[in-house]
């Protein structure tokens, strides 16, 4: 079966005239409907990888295929709209929660009312639909950001440290929303985090895979149980144990 994403010798460098290589992935396939948790320290290239997977930036070199087709430097709108990201620091538009969630639907010409109402219910924000989004608490804001992503029913939902700044209650809420949504819609989830416990928990509950990204390189990837209980690379073992100093 064709994977949703196929990455080969994918590289991204920043800066001129002396570019600095921040991502250098030899090979990675992400299957449709799978849950992949990518762990790694800060500066490992996790967010860069997600920007490439969301087609927000073009790779410096290498191949990126999506749904069996190579992704050109400026991918067509249809391709771009198959994927979306929930960021670590959600930024709301100065509008109501409802309008923020409806934002992505309108340019797609999709029906708004029913979808927004359903997703706000899903994330527990139905009562705050007409509230100004800027007045939400951190946890509510992240759930609103999740709602505006989920409402689009993307083929792949990319999660960039989505609960890094949240309290345990909101972390639990967001994780359960993600798992429920994935089960209902078969959405591919790619989570990047430095939180080993969250990666293990989420990928474990979704029978997914985990991977370690270190200094832009993929060290190891595998089924979540094997990855955490029997890591093949000593660096993976050290990172999981919390012994790695970075």
């Amino acid at each position: 079966m064709t994977p949703l994403y196929r990455l080969r010798q994918l590289r991204k460098a920043y800066g001129e005239p002396n570019p600095r290589l921040v991502l250098d992935v030899e090979a990675l396939d992400i299957e449709a409907g799978e849950m992949l948790a990518i762990i790694g320290p800060s500066g490992a290239g996790k967010s860069t990888l997600l920007r490439l997977l969301n087609f927000l930036e073009a790779p410096t070199s290498g191949g990126l295929e999506f749904e069996g087709r190579p992704v050109p430097p400026n991918p067509p709108l249809y391709t771009q709209r198959r994927v979306t990201t929930v960021f670590q620091r959600p930024l709301m538009l100065s509008r109501s929660v409802y309008e923020n969630v409806a934002f992505g639907l309108r340019p797609r010409g999709l029906p708004v009312d029913k979808r927004v109402a359903a997703v706000l219910d899903e994330v527990g924000l139905a009562a705050l639909a007409s509230a100004p989004a800027g007045q939400l608490s951190g946890g509510e804001m992240q759930r609103a950001a999740l709602a505006r992503a989920l409402v689009l029913e993307p083929a792949a939902l990319l999660l960039d440290e989505p609960t890094a700044n949240l309290d345990p209650n909101n972390v639990g809420l967001i994780e359960s929303i993600l798992l429920r949504h994935r089960q209902a819609h078969g959405t591919t989830l790619v989570l990047v985090t430095h939180n080993v416990f969250q990666a293990r928990r989420l990928a474990g509950q979704a029978s997914g895979r985990a991977a370690l990204l270190l200094a832009g390189r993929l060290v190891e990837a595998g089924p979540v149980d094997d990855f955490f209980s029997n890591p093949q690379d000593p660096r993976t073992a050290a990172f999981i144990r919390g012994d790695m100093v970075y």
Binding site: L93, G104, R148
Partner: protein, 214 residues
Amino acid sequence: MYDGLSQIVLLSLYVSGVALGLATLLGVPAGAALALQRVPGRRLIELVIYTGMGLPPVVVGLVVYLLLSRSGPLGALGWLFTPAAMIVAQTIIALPLVIGLTMTAVGGVDPALRLQVRSLGATPAQVMWAVLREARAGVLAAIIAAFGAVISEVGAVMLVGGDIDGQTRVLTTAIVLETREGNFALALALGAVLLGLALLANTLLLRLGRRPRW
């Protein structure tokens, strides 16, 4: 009552209103594009725009006069000493203000918001629109500042309009005329009308900006 006051008020509003409209239509997208997109020679463009924000109206008037005079490159238009010439001059005065202040306002919006809006599937135009909406207070300030600059300037409209009674006389040129003739009370009264107009126009602009519909 001052002879032809209503005509003078209407012409002042017409000339400055059209000039402001043109400067807004051209300047807001240009300012947003300069803030959001990679533009070659951007520093030089910024320098020119910021310098343009301090353009003396009389110099603008002089240049427009030379361009529109009979022997000038645009003399064939026959616009000199007409409201059209005054609109051209005031648009040139307002444009750098609108571009420069819009550029600053849009540049102040968190770049991460652009990324998040793009991630939701917005086209570049939709991203620009969303960011402009976020920067609306600053964009509105740009438009208000430009309106203030054009409604109150006298040097350019005097030069290219000629202060012709019943044709190109506006509030500021009428104030100059009455002052020269020693009619200080009348000049002050016209000044009060001008201030009142500015107050009205700004109230309207602020009201429009409070509840965005764009």
